[in-house]
């Protein structure tokens, strides 16, 4: 039933267990050998970029930006800078940081098919003429050993060296400019100004792609763009990984064709385990949607956006009706405030302020005036940061206040209708990790 859509994560014949393709021979046996990919030359990307264009591949890290366009942009800025005699060759960074606490697709993909991601890094690097490539997983990630072993096993087959880097496990460290900053300078903070495709690591044009996107590139190099586009939503074709969590019988990562309905995705995960009041889409920088407004929506960027959600890095998380939505908003926004790099005022001061407002709402110490103040603050912290951390957090809160407006009204009258005071969404332990190599901390 799911055979055609099991591209990145193939299962055994019983369909219950994902194949272990960590070893290179098993990987080649299943996926076939990686063809030779044409290198960039004369300021033009290699021919694979045309297949990626035909495939309609869009980045799975959250932005769903067309991959071929991003590659063209990197090659163009490299060529333009060479003309200015300050040119530097591009680099590739594979983003497998998995900064979203409700996401696990990068770990599942890399722990079963690491060579697919490494094949994709090679293909991307040759296509844009990169001389170095990196794969970034956060410090302490469970897949560090798998990636180390896979890189070692590939020996001489890679023409562009791949290095594993491990930035700190902080939410903002996985933002693409922060990754390029870390790879070059050992500082994991977002950079304002030129985007990485213009000036990234050490000023070099830098292609940052999510691990899943690179795995799709490895398959498009084998089978072509029209094969890739034969499945899924026409505006964002192919299959995609979804981290399904919360009130479902079998939470986990599944691969579906884009455009599969949310209802069908939940059924693949054993169905709802309780009555669902709302879905968190896209993670802690994403958006809440009421259950009835999302359940029949196709899981594709445009349709989810039209329903008020955001696919982001492929997170679908169901909140049951036992838990308090307002409490979820308060605990996540407090955590997100702590994950700020503290570089911009609206984020550094705005996020703790709205987290304080929400904490008062949880304990029903708030009145309508405070809600008005919160609604006034939320738009003020958007669009004013060097990265999208404050914008995403504000969206998480404002869509939550809308989705949980009935519960909000109860709280304003001193009541909470939840049957537990536990929180449902995972909150990682406070991560007091310096963002600089060498230990210099930041506030």
């Amino acid at each position: 039933m799911t055979g055609r859509t099991a591209r990145l994560l193939p299962a055994d014949e019983t369909g219950t267990r994902l194949l272990d393709l960590r070893r290179l021979d098993a990987h080649v046996r299943h996926f076939g050998a990686m063809p030779v990919v044409e290198a960039a030359s004369d300021g033009r990307p290699g021919a694979l970029v045309d297949e990626l264009h035909e495939a309609g591949l869009r980045g799975r890290g959250g932005g769903w930006f067309p991959t071929a366009r991003k590659m063209h942009a990197v090659v163009e800025s490299s060529a333009a800078r060479r003309a200015l005699s300050s040119g530097r060759k591009p680099v590739v960074i594979a983003n497998a940081m998995e900064g979203e606490p409700a996401s696990s697709k990068d770990v599942v993909l890399l722990s079963h098919s690491p060579h697919l991601v490494l094949d994709g890094i090679q293909a991307a690097a040759r296509t844009i003429g990169a001389t170095h490539a990196y794969i970034a997983v956060h410090r302490g990630s469970p897949v560090i050993g798998v990636i180390d072993a896979a890189i070692a096993e590939r020996g001489g087959i890679d023409t562009v060296p791949i290095e594993l880097i491990t930035p700190p496990a902080r939410y903002v460290a996985s933002e693409e400019s922060a990754l390029a900053h870390w790879a070059g300078d050992g500082i994991a903070t977002p950079v304002y100004g030129d985007r990485p495709f213009q000036r990234g690591m050490n000023g070099r044009p830098t292609l940052v792609q999510n691990a899943e996107t690179l795995a799709h590139i490895a398959l498009i190099a084998r089978h072509g763009g029209s094969w890739f586009a034969s499945l899924g939503d026409p505006a964002a074709p192919g299959t995609t990984l979804v981290s399904v969590g919360g009130a479902v019988a079998l939470p986990g990562v599944i691969e579906v064709a884009t455009g599969t309905s949310v209802r069908a995705i939940l059924q693949r995960c054993g169905g709802e385990s309780a009555t669902v009041q709302g879905f968190l889409t896209g993670g802690y920088g994403g958006a809440w949607v009421k259950a009835e407004e999302l359940i029949d929506i196709p899981w594709a960027p445009d349709s989810v956006a039209n329903a008020g959600g955001v696919i982001g890095a492929g997170i679908l998380w169901a909140l049951d009706d036992q838990h308090c939505g307002i409490r979820e908003l308060a605990s996540v926004s407090r955590w997100m405030a702590g994950e700020s790099a503290g570089q911009c005022g609206p984020c550094r001061f705005g996020l703790p302020a709205v987290a304080d407002d929400l904490a008062l709402l949880v304990t029903a110490q708030a009145d309508q005036e405070m809600v008005s103040e919160l609604n006034h603050r939320l738009p003020l912290i958007q669009g004013r940061g060097g990265c999208k951390h404050p914008d995403g957090t504000a969206r998480f809160i404002s869509t939550g206040l809308h989705a949980f407006h009935e519960e909000l009204a109860h709280h304003l009258h001193g009541r909470c209708t939840a049957r537990t005071t536990e929180r449902a969404l995972p909150i990682p332990a406070s991560r007091e990790i310096p963002v600089r190599k060498g230990g210099k901390d930041f506030t």
Binding site: G193, C344, G345, P346, G350
Partner: protein, 76 residues
């Protein structure tokens, strides 16, 4: 650069800004302050168009910023 540019734009680097707030005093027609004394362009976002009659004030605001968080871009 022509004496009368077709447009001029004021840009704020939010990662450099420390919220001293001088810019809002110099050019209140374009910039206000939020409750933490960080600048807010009345037009929203991190870039604002500068009308011709405010270009001089915009230059003063840029000079007044202790951390060089403001810059202007002109096109003739």
């Amino acid at each position: 650069m022509s004496k009368h540019p077709e447009f001029a734009r004021l840009y704020l680097d939010p990662t450099a800004c420390d919220g001293h707030g001088f810019c809002a005093e110099v050019i209140p027609d374009l910039i206000g302050l939020d409750e933490w004394d960080f600048p807010v362009f009345h037009s929203g976002g991190l870039m604002t168009e500068i009308p011709d009659h405010l270009i001089k004030d915009a230059k003063r605001a840029i000079a007044a910023c202790p951390v060089n968080a403001l810059r202007m871009e002109k096109k003739s």
